[in-house]
Amino acid sequence: MLYFLLSLVSLAALAAAKSALDEAQLLQGLRSRDEAAFAGLVRTYHGSLVRLARQYVASDAAAEEVAQDTWMALLNGIDRFEERSSLKTWLFRVLINRAKSRGVRDQRVTAHVDIDAMADAASVSADQFDGRGMWRSPPAAWGNPEQLLGDHQLVALIQAELVQLPPQQCRVVTLRDVEGLDAAEVCELLQISEENQRVLLHRGRARLRQAIARHLTEGASC
């Protein structure tokens, strides 16, 4: 199991290196006004931008608009754009700023985002432990990872559960696990401390783990 996960991680690293190479080419293309380069970048990132924007604004239409504004910001700044950060993080940063001010206008961003680190305090519900804090009912096995990864229904379930998380947890989990950014990038983008980032990530993953467990054990009893 561990070996399998490690091999997935190295595959991800390989993919990241390849995409960095592609990205430099596409940026170069954009500077020389190559339309195919723009289309390539949009194909790669537009979906991610809309998805993230949607976590700040109240409608799909508003999210689409914010994502399009972000592309215009890239085009208008392309000759000054320096590749100090990855393009993806740059796009996310601009998007979040725009989505936030848009969200404030639409009154979607409210005070509760700051306290959702404290929300739903236990990673595993208390009744799974005995008085000394030992497992009363230890987690059940999930079956082999290859099978889980091929289970489209399961991925759809996780997707649905993800957007049910408190907003700030949802953002951290989306950026870290779905988009694959590292902890430092996420802290910078969301302007939160490293510890806060870790707590939000833990709460989010723990809650999703529980949803997966529920789904898999229900499936087994059918």
Binding site: M1, L2, L5, L8, A12, R33, E35, F38, A39, V42, R43, H46, G47, S48, V50, R51, E64, Q68, W71, M72, L75, N76, A122, S123, V124, A126, F129, R132, G133, M134, W135, P138, P139, A141, W142, P145, L148, L149, L154, V155, I158, Q159, L162, V173, R176, D177, V178, G180, A183, E194, R198, L201, H202, R205, A206, L208, R209, I212, A213
Partner: protein, 92 residues
């Protein structure tokens, strides 16, 4: 001595490599003896891997058309700007 409940609270600190030495040793020791907690930590990792499988939403034809239009406008405007900047330099 760490309880299983403690382990479920610090598992991400552990996988992120942020646990201090003593605490990390205590956790390793607990994991060596506790199959339930090993499974919990493993399942948190698997959760992260499964999240990576979620595809980005597809752009709609309308959005593609919008962006293509904006791009064309930009090329026109940016091309014009570059040309006038060149003229200014020539004039100096």
């Amino acid at each position: 001595m760490l309880s299983c409940r403690d382990v479920t609270e610090i598992a991400t600190e552990f996988t992120e490599g942020k646990l201090a030495f003593r605490r990390r040793m205590a956790l390793q020791l607990h994991l060596a003896m506790c199959g339930g907690c090993r499974r919990f930590v493993d399942q948190l990792r698997t959760t992260a891997v499964l999240l990576r499988q979620i595809p980005a939403p597809e752009g709609t034809p309308a959005s593609q058309q919008d962006l293509a239009g904006k791009y064309a406008n930009w090329v026109r405007a940016a091309g014009g700007k570059a040309a006038s900047a060149g003229q200014q330099e020539e004039g100096q």
